[in-house]
């Protein structure tokens, strides 16, 4: 216990990560980049394996000002958003169905699990056959990968619902839908948001993997094209844009989460 902890006005224990407060992240990133640059120089890593960060930075800039990256970024972004939306509907829908009914759980959870273990890359051709070469097949791929973490967290969240609140609702003769919206849903939000946080990132990966197989636009396709010509700096530049998209999307989810599940913020009566 440090002295300062009790004397100064208390801060909430764990602030939500926000960009303006991003200084430590920036410092950390700079340190990481410096280490990377140094080790590339030190170990004489060939440029066709890992390029120097300066080279990558130049490519990132070039990709931006030439306008080359934008259409790819946009396409992938749309795929991710559409896929994620489908994943949320799918994950929450199935999660709620399963979480509320042990019978359905036993009936379909193993099937879902079995389906989930199928590497989506292995059925990418099928997806293309079913959903075409455009946005849909990639969005479906994103959805198929992202729905599972959402599903599992929804089920876990429903399982931990406070039973006394359920009893209260029962005493009010609440209808199942009311019980759901007024007790179960708010109660499971922290779980749901953890699921969404994982889900949004996996939706991104899903869209990219979908593009690896059957696409000529999008960041994933760009990665494949640049990889083929051993344009490693180019690949890293795309990865950087990918990370930016991931950070933005994840930040959005976190912001919504912190706005919504505000009561999970620890009360003031604590010192750490």
């Amino acid at each position: 216990m440090k002295a300062s902890a009790t004397t100064q006005e208390l801060r909430p224990w764990r602030p939500v990560f926000t960009t303006p407060r991003g200084l430590p992240a920036i410092i950390c990133t700079i340190v990481a980049l410096a280490l990377w640059q140094a080790s590339v120089a030190l170990f004489d890593v060939p440029a066709y394996v890992i390029p120097a960060p300066a080279t990558v930075a130049a490519r990132i800039y070039e990709d931006l000002v030439s306008g080359l990256i934008l259409p790819h970024f946009w396409i992938t972004f749309v795929e991710v958003i559409v896929g994620f939306a489908m994943a949320v509907v799918l994950g929450m829908g199935l999660g709620v169905t399963i979480g509320l009914s042990p019978a359905i759980d036993r009936a379909i959870y193993p099937l879902l699990l079995a389906f989930q273990t199928i590497p989506k890359v292995a059925i990418a051709p099928l997806l293309i056959i079913w959903f075409g070469y455009g946005l849909h097949s990639k969005a479906v791929m994103a959805a198929l990968i992202a729905f599972f973490p959402i599903l599992v967290n929804v089920i876990a969240g429903l399982r931990t619902t406070d039973q006394r609140r359920l009893l209260l609702m029962k005493s009010l003769r609440a209808r199942p839908l009311q019980v759901f919206t007024k007790v179960r849903l708010p109660g499971m939000l922290p779980y749901l948001f953890a699921g969404l946080e994982v889900g949004i990132v996996f939706a991104l990966i899903g869209a990219i993997v979908g593009e690896f197989v059957g696409s000529s636009v999008g960041l994933g396709s760009l990665i494949i094209q640049r990889q083929a010509v051993i344009d490693v700096a180019g690949v890293f530049s795309v990865l950087a844009y990918l990370s930016v998209m991931g950070l933005l999307l994840s930040l959005a989810v976190k912001l919504i989460a912190s706005r919504t599940a505000f009561w999970e913020r620890p009360p003031e009566t604590t010192n750490r």
């Binding site: 006394r164 609140r165 009893l167 209260l168 609702m169 029962k170 005493s171 009010l172 003769r173 609440a174 009311q178 007024k182 007790v183 708010p186 599940a261 505000f262 009561w263 009360p267």
Partner: protein, 274 residues
């Protein structure tokens, strides 16, 4: 130990003439336990409660009062025996039943106002009506000005009062209250007692009320059920033959003092300590 046909008759006799609202028929509850040693919490309770009656339950800690209340409210099923409501077996909570649990059971994501509005919301009352009732109840329990606070911003007693306001908000015809005033100071408690008496009489509500305060039980009740230690049953029923409503001053009367010491004696002579 009481129970058995003789006791059954005893309970029945007492209620002759009034409408039976709730009947317990040799009700028992055995809880399964994680450690494999089941607990027989309530053992063969037979009793009846009339419509509009105010019944208090007194008993040592852990004797099964909360268990009894939950069964009565249709939230927990008896392991043995049967509970009837208006002659029908109980298969779930009754319409128009307000409950105060032993702990407040508030929704942390709702403000005080919104917590108290919950029953109206569930019943589908118009928003304005919900809010009007909720604000009135919040004022009643002395929390005016705290409508926009969240439960974790309240003191223990304030949380308990929110849950009382919630239970009262729909003008229930049956009120089940498990130590509702346990965390209140003497003055607030006295006020709440008077309010509860007024409301229950105004509404003609049947009230089943758990308390550890012998004086409170005597002051509020038509009848007081005194429970024995675990495995518990209703050991004795004391009629408080003073017409309701009662005034605080009456608490200093001899008649009242007699009831209090009678109840105290009954509690003192309970079986094993819990």
């Amino acid at each position: 130990m009481p129970g058995g046909p003789e006791a059954d008759r005893l309970q029945d006799r007492r209620l002759a003439g009034t409408t039976r609202l709730i009947e317990f028929n040799r009700v028992a509850k055995v809880y399964r336990a994680v450690d494999g040693r089941p607990v027989r919490a309530v053992d063969s309770v037979s009793a009846a409660i009339g419509a509009g009656e105010f019944v208090s339950i007194l008993g040592p800690s852990g004797c099964g009062k909360s268990t009894l209340m939950m069964m009565l409210a249709g939230l927990l099923s008896p392991s043995e025996g049967e509970i009837r409501f208006k002659g029908e077996p109980v298969f779930g909570p009754q319409e128009g039943c307000g409950i105060v649990f032993q702990d407040a059971v508030l929704f942390p994501w709702r403000t005080v106002l919104s917590n108290v509005m919950l029953p109206g919301e569930v019943r589908g009352l118009p928003k304005a009506e919900q809010e009007r009732r909720a604000r009135a109840m919040i004022r009643l329990v002395g929390l005016a000005g705290f409508e926009t606070k969240f439960p974790h911003e309240l003191s223990g007693g304030m949380q308990q009062r929110v849950s009382i306001a919630r239970a009262l908000s729909l003008e229930p015809s049956l009120l089940v209250m498990d130590e509702p005033f346990g965390a209140l100071d003497a003055m607030t408690r006295e006020q709440m007692n008077l309010e509860l008496q007024r409301i229950s009489l105004d509404l003609g509500a049947t009230v089943v009320f758990v308390t550890h305060s012998i004086a409170e039980a005597a002051f509020l009740s038509d009848r007081v059920f005194v429970m024995s230690g675990r495995p518990s049953t209703v050991r004795e029923i004391v009629d408080i033959d003073i017409p309701r409503p009662r005034r605080i001053e009456q608490m200093n009367s001899d008649a009242f003092g007699g009831y209090v010491s009678r109840l105290r004696d009954l509690l003192d002579h309970r079986g094993e300590p819990a």
